[in-house]
Amino acid sequence: MAQVHEYDSVIVGAGGAGLRAALEAGKRVKTAVVSKLYPTRSHTGAAQGGMCAALANVEDDSWEWHAFDTVKGSDFLADQDAVDIMCNEAVASVLELERMGLPFNRTPEGKIDQRRFGGHTRDHGEAPVKRACYAADRTGHMILQTLYQQCNKYGVEFYDEFFVLDLLMVDGHCSGIVAYEIATGELHIFHAKAVLFATGGYGKMFKITSNAHTLTGDGPGVVYRKGLPLEDMEFFQFHPTGLYRLGILLSEAARGEGAILRNADGERFMERYAPTIKDLAPRDIVSRAEFFEIKEGRGAGPDKDYLLLDLTDVDPEVVEKKLPDITEFARTYLDVDPLKEGVPIVPTAHYAMGGIPTDVNGQVLANHNGDLVPGFYAAGECACVSVHGANRLGTNSLLDIVVFGRRGGIAMAEYASTHKLLKLPEDTERSVQQWLAAICDGPGEESTYEIRSTLQEEMMDKASVLRTDESLSEALEAIDKLRDRFTRTRVKDTCKIFNTELVEHIELGYLLDMAQALVVSAKARTESRGGHYREDHQMREDDHWLKHSFITKVPEGLPQLAYKDVVMGRYEPVERKY
């Protein structure tokens, strides 16, 4: 028997998006936050560089310029109504975090300091602008800590180390979740009027990634298995500066402070790819440039398979003071001193633009026609509003999680306070119980470790920065085989207490689903846009493809695709030059 808890609203995930939503919902209705990690372990804490808002504390700026950059950065796939909301609310959101106590770096006058970041410009692309508010290179850490502090202050109820496995639907209404308590192996039902998912990304499907081991797409995975669609799954961002071999991120803030990318010949190759803003071009462009440099034999190192991030011309005091963590990462993990030599870097799988489709209040869409799922919300990296379109600009995710976490929290509380708790069917948890029993009872002849590492290698080789129909077909075939092998695995650990093998097993299942959704969506899109680059279709094709993909799992065979028009606004698509 599962324990049953009743709440008005339940939030799944305690990263920036979940905690920001919890502060709003918790003030209004009875709220619980359910998270597989202790809140402060969430990957928001790894975010480094900053959060953008046109405060104009250091240089002239306007939220409308920020909106333009976001739309252009998205390769015109972002919904412009949502972008306007985000960029307009950015200023108030940053000021609000400051009032909660967030220790931003300061200007000499004591105002919040700002710095440059990729793709953020003055007056529609004229030159880079200082728009990113930051706290050294630990901005995400400070946001996560500050939000957690506030949640403690207001007594938000947490269920830490509870792993959510299922969404409860009653007549098309979302009515709660089923969670597995990792410490005891018990199931819990959270019966609720409204649920918000804020479960983060799924970069762990790639071999080289800046993402945590725990970023496995559980939230979108649960949604997908319920037969609800996922949006724009083909768009996955690769960040240009991950530590060689490891993928650990070196923030774009390094280039914002003046670092330069060089190839084996010492050439500043970005001058060729983005003559105006060079190293500060958006990530899709820089990552692609790096792949081309390596492909054409200009990579550095004995195997010519990496590039160099050169910080040696940046003032050492700036490096030590404003980029202390990333300097330490290079020293600790590669034994390289960035003050003295170039740091070996490669593109690293970083950010999921796609995810659970929502409207601007975080409410989840049931289909590409825009129908809504009553009582169900999503926010943060697991969601797709869409403000990032085909390519997210740096610093816009921390902004996204705060703006749409807040909006989602308010909307779910309003819904919960005007609706009744729906009666759950008997034996709500039965299907989850059967599933868990089956996992522990399989033939066990295949190794989950091999399946996971093969998936990561295949995705990196065939579905990352450069794609073709052929490579994607091969990836899909590989995923099919892995999915089949996965059915022949088994969780061998029988202990109920902290059975982390069981948790990892289920996470791998979600990763396989996310990989399938990504590759099927990518294969269908026969154009290049933002983070999705097809060597066999190198042009963007607005006549055909200025639309969002919606992918839905069906009982038999490959998932199905449908499309939804982009919400246009002030900016008409133009060629994307920097």
Partner: protein, 234 residues
């Protein structure tokens, strides 16, 4: 290279007490200890239980005792460790399974010091940001780095023998607010910290400073909080 590991294992369903098991895995000298623990779990014994997430020293999940000293498994490299590498769970918190301990007493200590910005709510909210000079911001920079991994608290001999002591991490988080020019709650916090289980239990063993994976000068922060409590100066 071959890496020899000696891991303290404990399964609460089948073991009376913890015992050591030896393992050997193939790894690179530049690999992290966490990578080797994963190899044990993924290739040798899937029941090995540990917490981990970010794998680069910022989430604070994987504090362990490594060759006798507290460290994050994702922040120590194999090349820097003497073999066999002896790994044990952090001390002073109830052991649950293998490297997993009950973190609740630790977080209770943290919450006890009111680790959030306290301001006079009756005052009119400013429309822009509150001003804070770079110097004022610098004053508490060091203690903002804390990731609540518990490496400091569980290296403290006072904490081992007295679980009521709030411990170094809680004091670090109090310091972060006491010396923030915007905060108005120092008096309340120092009152809590001046009580029996508070800051004066510290005997400056310096273990905490050595253990901190973020390089926070923990003992210095504790001394500053003691002074603030004694002289009401902050």
């Amino acid at each position: 290279m071959d890496v020899k590991l000696r891991l303290l294992r404990f399964n609460p369903e089948s073991d009376d007490k913890p015992h050591f098991e030896n393992y050997e895995v193939e790894a690179d000298p530049m690999d992290r200890l966490l990578d080797c623990l994963h190899l044990v779990k993924w290739q040798k014994d899937s029941s090995l239980a540990l917490r981990r997430s970010c794998a680069h020293g910022v989430c604070g999940s994987d504090a362990m005792v490594v060759n006798g000293v507290n460290a994050l498994a994702c922040k120590v490299l194999i090349k820097d460790l003497e073999q066999p590498i002896v790994v044990e769970p952090i001390r002073g918190l109830p052991l649950i399974r293998d490297f997993i301990v009950d973190m609740e007493p630790f977080f209770a200590g943290y919450r006890a010091v009111k680790p959030w910005l306290i301001v006079d709510e009756s005052q009119h909210e400013p429309e822009r940001e509150r001003l804070q000079s770079p110097k004022e911001r610098e004053r508490f920079d060091d203690t903002t780095k804390c990731i609540l991994c518990a490496a400091c608290t569980t290296s403290c001999p006072i904490f081992w023998s007295d679980e009521e002591y709030v411990g170094p991490a809680a004091i670090v988080n109090a310091h972060r607010f006491i010396f923030d020019s915007r905060d108005q709650g120092s008096r309340e916090r120092l009152e809590i910290l001046s009580q029996r289980d508070g800051v004066f239990k510290c005997r400056t063993a310096f273990n905490c400073t050595a253990a901190c994976p973020r390089g926070i000068k923990v003992t210095q922060a504790i001394q500053e909080v003691k002074r603030a409590a004694l002289f009401q100066s902050f």
